[in-house]
Structure formats: structure tokens, C-alpha cells
Amino acid sequence: MGNLDANLDRLAALEGMGCSRKRREDPRFIQGKGTYVDDIKMPGMLFGVMVRSPYAHARVKKIDKSRALAHPGVHAVLTADDLKPLKLHWMPTLAGDVQAVLADEKVCFQNQEVAFVVADDRYVAADAAELVEVEYEELPAVVDPLAALAPDAPVIREDIRDKQTGAHGARRHPNHIFTWNSGDKDKTDRVFDHADVTVKQEMLYPRVHPCPLETCGCVASFDKVRGDLTVYITSQAPHVVRTVVGLLSAIPESKIRIISPDIGGGFGNKVGVYPGYVVSIVASIVLGRPVKWIESRSENLSTTAFARDYLMTGELAADSDGRIKALRVHVTADHGAFDACADPTKWPAGMFHVCTGSYAIPNAFVSVDGVYTNKFPGGVAYRCSFRVTEAVYLIERMVDVLAQKLGIDKVEIRLLNFIRKEQFPYTTPLGLEYDSGDYEPALKKVLTAVDYPALRAEQAARRADPHAEWLMGIGVVNFTEIVGAGPSKMCDILGVGMFDSCEIRVHPDGSAIARMGTITQGQGHQTTYAQIIASEAGIPASAITVEEGDTSTAPYGLGTYGSRSTPVAGAAVARASRKIREKARRIAAHLLEASPGDVEFDLDRFVLKGSPEQFKTIKEVAWAAYNNVPEGMEMGLEAVDYYDPPNFTFPFGAYVCVLEVNRYTGETRVRRFYALDDCGTRINPMIIEGQIHGGLTEGFAVAMGQEMPYDEAGNLLGATLLDYFVPTSVETPHWETDFTVTPSPHHPIGAKGVAESPHVGSIPCFTSAMVDAFAHLGVTHMNMPHNAWRVWQQCRALGLTRQ
């Protein structure tokens, strides 16, 4: 009994994996002492503002900057002509395309960057920006990706008009970017030809935007004396930025320092390199002073990495009993005017090929056509895990459609088709090897928790009542995620493999500093990475300082997005910790005058086997590392690990949504949302819960209201928070969370990563529930967003309204 208490005390002091350690980040944020990019002030700092095109498609005939330059307090007005001698008027994107930094002869999307005004402060810059006179010749715009592929469609990218091959293969039209295929087309087609049952459904995953509360920005400072460039930047991938800046500027990486300080939310919006960063750097180099650029909210919503815009057609072939035999998918992917999608190089549709989902589907074929339109660039963002949002949406919708066609309950069809636990590791027909999964108990746990049969009975009664004002819908989703990009043979960004890293140095007093190649934007890395080290190396988490984001000190990493921190950097953290532990064990053995094999690691100390009262704490070992090490051993206690993951990880979940729809107004109430997530080993349950709440809330926003509507002329309607639906505390439902634990067999601590799962999984669940509310009237699909107006239109089409 005494031992148990003592152990619990030691565990509590350690704050290792599995405990709800309170966050190390919080003290500065709750006291307003965070350091976000706009908080950075440097002596002599100037402020830059973009001048942007009001037109979606136009020639730039003339730019007159004279009045702006004459305005007191203005230091420079940059246009493409100023960047041409530096060959910086175009820059490479992460997708193998090029993007105009400042418009060169034409603009291709509304609000595209045309000029950059640098002034004493943001007030002067705002006044001067209005004085830049640009003469445009408007061109017809195309905003529909299908129309963009018409033979007579306006050519958007005249700069590559004659290029028949892009970064991803052949182009069949000036507005065509790539065609990407996966799977066996012929075999899949044959299965469809002979199937008992086939279903087909077209669905749009509309363009939405991550809208982190902090917009993008930077402070670029070129030190003329030292020849060093320092850039504070809102970046989820500071090392990648350093490499890109090095390539663009010909300054060696050793003289470039990129610092991602505190970031106010990333969600994939802060991965790419934006023109604002480039011109700030150029301006700083030219003027010899620091230059700050902070975009406005409407600039953020209308020009930075958007998400989705996938027009998908899914087909399933199945037996009459509902067993799925094949999946066939075609996607028209609207990438906007420049392909700036943040995808691993080889996969222009990201991990869309996870679209066979949680189901043992033996045959599949996927084809994705990327298309240019006169909209702003992006596509991969917003907690999507590289197009996994689209993939999961597709398969979960298709399974519902099939269930409906066959008259089978959507739960039953899932249970029938699940990949079974014994089948893992499971290789899908599209070439992905799922590491582990146990879908059935997860689904059953959720169904029991919500009393699914009772819900169906209640729904049946409601459907039988012709006077019921509120329809009831029940959504069920079983998603499998793919995160942790990724194995370098499959995943690279601009040729750099997607490994990640950790270095740990233990000080003589037993405290430690650890740095990783990732960068937190609210996920709590300063708290959770320390927990891993605490469990693996026995150093109390409170004695570990975690740093990320400064490329001059942090080991090279690919950054934080796609839920990759825990699976990749977390693995490096564990392995580096184990290297520390191993060296510590040998030092402990030396101190105990025993052989290393006779010494065991026990939470926070090394104990002599058979003599538990003889031990050395990690603290004692740390001191000894600097003055008393075994013969032949180097002093010091530190380790570095670069982890190239052998595979992705595959978290999964089962979600149920119960909602009610008012047939007269289209208003929706989310009555219940139950989310069970399995992310393998759980490092900090409190932080996991927070991530789930946040992801579910984003999912709710996407499903129920977010959109970026364009008119025919390419004007973006509603690029402010007046119209772009960000729910408040009033709209946001109450979330119920649950979990199972199915560790990843290939990950050093069995952890899979979790933060995007709730976003990925909740969106199809809301749609599933919404469609279910009308399913008894024959509705098989409804496109998002399910705002009251659109839902009302569905009600009216079914004769349910009063008008």
C-alpha cells in the first residue's frame, strides 16, 4: 500500500505521459505577455501595406506610384518591376508551380498583390496605399472549374500557357494543372460492370477558410553590418521558410534566422510563403531597416490558403447484402489561380487516397483533376490532414447513400464492411498500409452511450407525426485518419524529406532543455513534449524547458500541420529521451559500481536489481555526467534524434450527431454530439479534450455555415467576419467526448496524433445527420453549408414549408 502511494507521488511529481498536466504556455498568455508577430517591435521598424487588385482577372496596364512616394513618411513603393532584377517577382510554390509575388502584367484573382507600400507607421501606410494609381483592363473571369476546362475558356495563366507539362505530369488545357490517379482502373471498372448494386453521388466540398484569430504577418530585418536576415513570421514551418528564403535570396541558410514566436492559431493557414513575406524581406534588405507586414482580416480571408473546393463524384459497387466491392471517385479540384497547395511533392491530391476509409473495400480507383480558376490560391488547409477531410467526407457519404439504397441501417452497413482488428496492418487497394485499428468496439461504445435504438424509435415517432415542427436526424460516422507525414521515400516538401527532430540537453542540476523541429500554435507542445521526456528519461516535466520555432537553435524539422507533431517529432522526442536514458543508465551503473545490465530504470531513478534501496536519481546522474563518467565515455548528457517515420499513423473515431431541423425556417439545433476518438497512446487527456472541442467546433462551422461565394465576375462575396460564419459561444453546441486506445505498433510510444480528427470526422457527421432528417422523404444528399436558408430550400422542395 505504501509503495503504491509513493509511486503515485513520484508519478505526480514527474507529470509524465497520461496525466492532465496544466499548461506551461498559460502563464504568459493569461497575463497578456505572449509574443505574437505583431507584438514585435524593433528600432527603426517600418510598416508595409499591400495594394491589391479589385478585379478577379485583368491586365495591369500602368502603375503610378508617384503620389504615394511623395506622401510624407513613405519610404518605398515596390511593384513587380522592382522585383524583376532580383528575379523575385515570381516565386516557387510548395506545389511545384509559381506564384506572382507582385502582379506581373496581369492579375488572376481578386485582391491579388500589386504593390507594396512601406511607410513610417500603419496610418501613413494606409493613406499612401490609396494614392497608388493602377490602371487595369478587365478580362472575363472564370470561377467555375468545369467552365475553366471548356475549350473557349479564358486563359488564366498566360505565363505557362504553352507548358504542356506541369509539376505533376501532362496538362490537357491551359487551365488544367494535373491529373492524378490512384488504384487499378480496369479492375475497378470490371467490378462495377458486374456488381449487384451500384450507387453514385455527386457532392461538393465547398471552399472554406481556416480563419485563425491571428492573421498572417512578419517582421523582416536585414542587418547590413552583419549580413544577417532575421524574420519573425507566422509560420507553421519555420525551417522550410528558411530554406525557401535561402533559395530565393541566395543568402546562405547560415545567415538566415526565421523565428516563429507565439502563433495565434495556424490550422494550415500559415504553412505557405505569402507574397507579403517576400516583399517585406526585399524591402528590409533594400532599406536597411526592419519592415513589418500584418495583413487585415479581409486580406486573410480573401488571399491566404483556403481549404477544400473539391467537386467529387463517388461511386460504390456492392453485393445485394451491402458488402462493398469497389469504390470509384472522380474529383475536379479547384486550386485557384496559382497552385500553392501545401502537399507532399508526389501527391498533388494529398492523402485523398485514404478514401476507402474504415472499410475493407477490395478495389478502388481515384482520379483527381486539378484546375485553375480566377480565385485565390491554396486548397490544403484547415485541419484537413492533406485532403483527408475530403476523402473521409466522400466515403462516409457514399456508405450512407449505399445504406439508404439498400434499406440497411447505416450502422449495420458499417459493421458489415469494417476492416477487422485481425486484418491490421491493412493495405488498402490505393496503397496505404493502415497501422492499427479496432473500429467495432469504438462504434458500439458510442451507440450504447447515446442509446441509438431509442433515438431511432424517437425518430420514427417524430416522422409519423405530420404536425411535428422539428424534424430529427441522426448522423453516424466512422472515420479513419491518416496523419504523421511522413516517410521520406513518400513525402517531401520541396525535396526535403518529411522527417522531424528533437535535441535534448540535460544540465548539471538535472533540469533540461529540449528543442524540436515542429512549432506549436496552441496545441500545447511546451507541455506535452516535456511529458514524453519525463516518462522516457525520468526528468520531471516541470524541469524541462521546451523550445520551438527559432531556426538558429532548433534542429531541422518540417513543422506542425497535418497532425504530424506527435507521430513524427513526438517519436524523435521519445527516441532522444531513450538515448539520454541509456547513457544515464551507464553513468548510474558506474556510480553504483555495477554493470549496466544490473541497473534498472524506475520512473525517475536507476535502481540496482535486487537492491531497491540502492539507486541513483536522474538528478544525481546529471551532475555526474559533467564530472564523473565511466572510462572512455564523453562528458555531458544530451541527444539528438532525427526520425524518419516508417509509415503514417491512422487515428480513428466514431461520432454520432443528433440534430433537429425546423421545417418552417430551416433553423437547426444540435441536440447531441458524441465523439469517440482513438489516437493510440494519450499523452495529456486534458489537452486532447481541448483539441477535440476545437476541431468539432470548426467542423460545426464548416458544415453549418462557412462558404466563400463568388459571383460570375470573380468578386468574393463576404470576406469579413460579418458573413464568414465563425460561431460564437451561443451557437456552439455542447460536446461529449470519449476514447478508446489502440496504439500504433510502429510508433515508439504508440501515439498517433489527434488534433485534426474531430474536424475531419465531424463534418460528414453533421451532413449525415442533416440528410437523415429528410431521408424518409427520399433525400440522399445535401451539399454544405447547411445554413438555414439552404435547409429551408430543401424543406420547400419537399413541401414541408408553409410557403
Partner: protein
């Protein structure tokens, strides 16, 4: 994000404010709560050369009841309306309406007079004022006049407020005990303008309607009074049929602007639905 430069004035008395307004004419704008004007100035949609801040005019504050009339200073904030015990007991419609305007921070600053005189068809108080049979005290260089709410709203951003005039007070005949009321507002989310909204006051005489007023928000160039709908209810019981007819007549006077909240069909239909909700709730609250 940054307004154009302007000259700022903070008069300490109403005559001083009026004098400034007349001195600077068209180039001047009154600053009340600032939460309609300042956002427009930040986007440079409004560029006044002179801003006259009414914030120091304590004579424009206060909520009191005088001789069966509730008198509210034009610079009374939404938050002050919500927390007013006088209004909670004597004119709860105004409290219900104010609670549905914007968000808490905006309500600490946004004023009753500002909301009314801005002339934005999306603002909520005009419809409330119409059904409460309110009148507005307007003061200019030539003195004071009192104008009824019904008819005050002429067009989008256009009211009967003359250049050089400041709204100083809102007067509402204290609703008699047993008056039913409701403001039903459909919006995309908290803080949004109405997709459609209906304000109702209702009195019953026995089993039939003796008095009713119905006004609609954001489904026309201004807040509009649905007089035909009112007429259809007078002397009738409040039941499914009469509510349906009133809603139909309310919808028939709608001429909403299509936007991201909805097209003409949806907004008009929602005017109908909000009218139904408001009538049903007002009836439930009315003494009968």
C-alpha cells in the same frame, strides 16, 4: 482598418453640439456609440471631416417615467436598456429587443438614438419604436420638435431627421398592463443583423384583438409597419387561421434585398414565420 483624418469635437452641452453641427454642415457626423459609424470610417466607406462626439452630453442620458410616458435619453446604451428595472417591468419589449442586438461589448456603447437615427433597415429599434407608438424629440437651431416613429423612417439611411438636428429623447407611452409583446428575430448567428424580424404589441378585449401593431425589420428599405396585417386581426380571435392571414399580409408588403442571408423568397417567407412567432408569443403574454 485606419480612418481618414478628421477633426474631433467633444461638446459639453447640447447647444454647443448643435452649433458645431451647423457650423460644419455636410462634412460633420455625430458620434454616438460609434459602432455603426467607426466601422464605416475604418473601411473608409464614411469620411467625415468633423466628428462631433455626443458622449459628454449627460442631458441625453437617463430613463424615467413621466405622466404615463417613458422617456429615454437618446444616448442611453443598449446595455442600460437591458438592465433598466423600469423597462423590465413597464416596457419589456424594449428589453427583449435590445438583448437581440449585436453582442455584449457593442451593447455597452451602442445607443438607442444612434440605432434609430442611422436609418439602417437592418437596425432593430425602428420596428420596436413603431409598435410602441414612440415619438422622437429632435432639437436643432430652430428649437425642438416631436415626431412620431411611424413615418420617421423614409428610406435606407434616410429619416425625417434634418441636417443640423440631434435626436435627444425617445418617448414611449407606457404600455398598459396586460399588453402582449414580442420581438422575434431570425439571424444567422448571434450578433448578426436580422434575416427577418417582427415586432408585435397586442391587446385583447375579451376573446378578440382590440389593438395590435406589427412592424418588420430588414425586409424593405426601412422598417415597415404591416398595417394590412394589423387590420386583419382587429376584432378577431388569435388562432391559427388569423395568425396565418396576418403572416400572409405581412409577407405581401416585404421587399427585401437579396444577400448572403437569403434571397427574396426566403426572406419574405421568414418575415412570415417571424410574424407568426411574434403574434403567438404576444398573444400568450397578453391578458385574455
Amino acid at each position: 482598418m485606419i480612418p481618414r483624418p478628421f477633426e474631433y469635437h467633444a461638446p459639453r452641452s447640447l447647444p454647443e453640439a448643435i452649433a458645431l453641427l451647423n457650423e460644419h454642415g455636410e462634412g460633420a457626423k455625430l458620434l454616438a456609440g460609434g459602432h455603426s459609424l467607426l466601422p464605416m470610417m475604418k473601411l473608409r466607406f464614411a469620411e467625415p471631416e468633423h466628428l462631433i462626439d455626443l458622449g459628454k452630453l449627460i442631458e441625453l442620458k437617463g430613463i424615467r417615467e413621466v405622466d404615463g410616458e417613458i422617456r429615454i435619453g437618446a444616448m442611453t446604451t443598449e446595455n442600460e436598456l437591458i438592465w433598466s428595472e423600469l423597462l423590465q417591468t413597464r416596457c419589456p419589449l424594449l428589453v427583449e429587443g435590445a438583448r437581440q442586438i449585436s453582442d455584449p461589448q457593442v451593447r455597452y456603447r451602442g445607443t438607442l438614438g444612434g440605432d434609430i437615427s442611422h436609418g439602417d433597415p437592418g437596425n432593430d429599434h425602428p420596428a420596436l419604436m413603431i409598435v410602441l407608438d414612440a415619438s422622437f424629440v429632435l432639437v436643432g437651431e430652430r428649437g425642438e420638435r416631436v415626431v412620431p416613429a411611424d413615418g420617421f423612417f423614409v428610406g435606407t439611411y434616410t429619416t425625417l431627421l434634418e441636417p443640423g438636428e440631434i435626436m435627444t429623447e425617445i418617448r414611449i407611452p407606457t404600455p398598459a398592463a396586460g399588453t402582449g409583446y414580442c420581438y422575434a428575430k431570425l439571424k444567422r448567428k448571434t450578433g448578426d443583423f436580422a434575416t427577418a424580424a417582427t415586432a408585435v404589441t397586442l391587446r385583447m378585449s375579451g376573446a378578440t384583438v382590440s389593438e395590435v401593431r406589427i412592424a418588420l425589420t430588414n425586409v424593405a428599405e426601412t422598417a415597415i409597419r404591416a398595417t394590412d396585417a394589423e387590420q386583419s386581426l382587429r376584432g378577431k380571435p388569435v388562432d391559427e387561421a388569423s395568425i396565418a392571414e396576418a403572416a400572409r399580409l405581412a409577407m405581401s408588403v416585404c421587399a427585401p434585398v437579396a444577400d448572403l442571408r437569403g434571397d427574396l423568397d426566403y426572406k419574405t417567407a421568414m418575415a412570415g414565420e417571424m410574424t407568426r412567432r411574434a403574434l403567438a408569443t404576444a398573444y400568450a403574454r397578453a391578458a385574455h
